[in-house]
Symmetry: C2
Subunit: 310 residues, 2 copies
């Protein structure tokens, strides 16, 4: 097991030009010792999300290469899209991959974010730290940092409260600024109900979320998505509330409101242990572990030993 | 994806002497391009089971090295144990790892078994092909081939019906003979009921198995194991009957007989797709695939490309 492994989930402000997107993604793919796990492009929002993992030094190198590629490829002044953006490389969150994947903690991710922010600042981009890396409480929430997008930030960058953590104190028109942060690993898990009544989803969300006395580590909102009521959840501590436990609570709560869960949705990636926990729960098979999965032995761990088995 | 990948599950007649067991297992571990996934030793039966995977040429090499190590380390004349054994390397089955792991078929595994049998025969061990590799219908069932163990085989090796497929026509006292075969991949999945009445398990087994009009690809028996009624299943075609579908059929059938499934058990290895199917089924999450699992991207496939996603 590598000592500390992180996931980076950068959002950049290009979701239409395939050539630009691919050159930007290549800046990470061509970095040594990081692994690109996904690229999601959104033409409507004219925005893309890249997911990659690695240890601290390689992920730092790749992040700087990415910031440089975004600044080169994207001209923010010419860019348009529905999403309020403040930079070419808009947001760069680092997520610790904790047990059983590695020993990384949120503090490690915050320290990585600060080092990355400093390096990106020295490229000439204003950098704002947020989340667990924030330098002040009013900068903790990403929404506060990028309120009003590029234009909003341009108006307040002179305010000492909004001086960048790194880089110039003036907003470059072409590249804008970057929010670099750290946040805990979480699983985004949504349940669609067999009703279009969003009030049912709101009631269910209220019953399952930690804030209102529900399950530990569960955040939840009731939304309407595509004409269906959706209970949108963030599971922030799978060790305390697993996917099946959260889902069964939603099923019971929905039942009390006369609704049923029709289908569910996972956004992003989950560790294999989370999938195994689903199987353990529903099969009543507590012993099921990675050692029972053929691929877990077949595939060499990129950062681990090549010896598996007994 | 490698073109053809196989699992070998050799049983050898030593389950007590740790030094011998480890030297025998090392003969496979030190073979190039095969991967040991498990070693199960059973002192009562004085017998061990090794699981390893690889492509045809490496698995063939490792199998011959294993047969040689077993013949060197084990003196069958001095060996004792509950299990009826006929050789030092007693049984050597090859299992094709089909889609999505590779393109290997049962025919490929049979052809591998014949090549391995020939090579092991040339070491001076009588070899009997069985299963899909059998040279005659009466040799298809392993139980028929090794009826009476070493002593039974010694009595009939002169019979033309039981001439070895490869190797000498006389049974060496120290090493005995080897049964080399091919069989389809299967998942051994058992459900324990909350009753000690084995008749309930037998009734449930009769309702779910294909032979009696139950689920396709399901073999089942009702057993008593450790004082509990157990429905012991082989799922031979996960594409037609998955683990959750088999379990839910057992749960419904047990319910009709006034019993409940208390826990389940998987023997051996399952492909990750089988675990994902459990999650898809119970979470109502049909889109869940390997691309959602962090490790599937993190781990390099031993035999594949190093590029993952997008």
């Amino acid at each position: 097991m590598p000592p500390r492994l992180f996931e980076a989930v950068p959002n950049f402000s290009e979701g239409r030009d395939v050539g630009k997107i691919s050159r930007i993604a290549d800046s990470v793919r061509n970095s040594l010792d990081v692994r690109v796990l996904g690229l999601h492009t959104d033409p409507d929002h004219n925005r893309s999300v890249l997911t990659f993992v690695g240890e601290e030094a390689p992920i730092l190198r790749a992040s700087v290469a990415l910031a440089r590629a975004c600044a080169t490829e994207i001209d923010l002044a010419a860019q348009s899209g529905v999403h309020p953006r403040m930079g070419s490389l808009d947001v760069l969150p680092f997520v610790p991959l904790g047990q059983p994947l590695s020993d990384a903690t949120l503090e490690d991710a915050a320290s990585l974010a600060k080092r990355a922010g400093e390096a990106i600042g020295s490229l000439g981009l204003p950098v704002y730290l947020y989340g667990a890396a924030a330098s002040a409480p009013h900068r903790t929430h990403l929404a506060d940092v990028r309120r009003g997008g590029y234009e909003g930030l341009a108006a307040r960058i002179g305010d000492p409260m909004w001086r960048p953590d790194f880089g110039p104190e003036k907003l470059p028109a072409s590249s804008g600024a970057v929010a670099v942060g750290a946040r805990p690993f979480l699983v985004a898990f949504n349940a669609y109900l067999d009703t279009d009544d969003v009030e049912v989803a709101r009631a269910v969300a209220g019953e399952v979320r930690e804030r209102d006395g529900g399950l530990p580590g569960v955040k939840a909102l009731g939304l309407e998505v595509g004409g269906r009521a959706q209970v949108s959840m963030n599971l922030t501590d799978l060790g305390r509330t697993s996917i099946p436990v959260a889902l069964e609570a939603v099923r019971r709560s929905a039942g009390r409101h006369g609704a049923r869960v029709e289908s569910t949705e996972l956004v992003g990636l989950v560790p294999m242990t989370a999938v195994l926990e689903v199987a353990r729960y529903y099969l009543a098979l507590p012993e099921l572990g990675p050692e029972h999965v053929l691929e877990a032995g077949l595939w060499e761990r990129g950062h681990g030993t090549s010896e598996s088995g007994p």
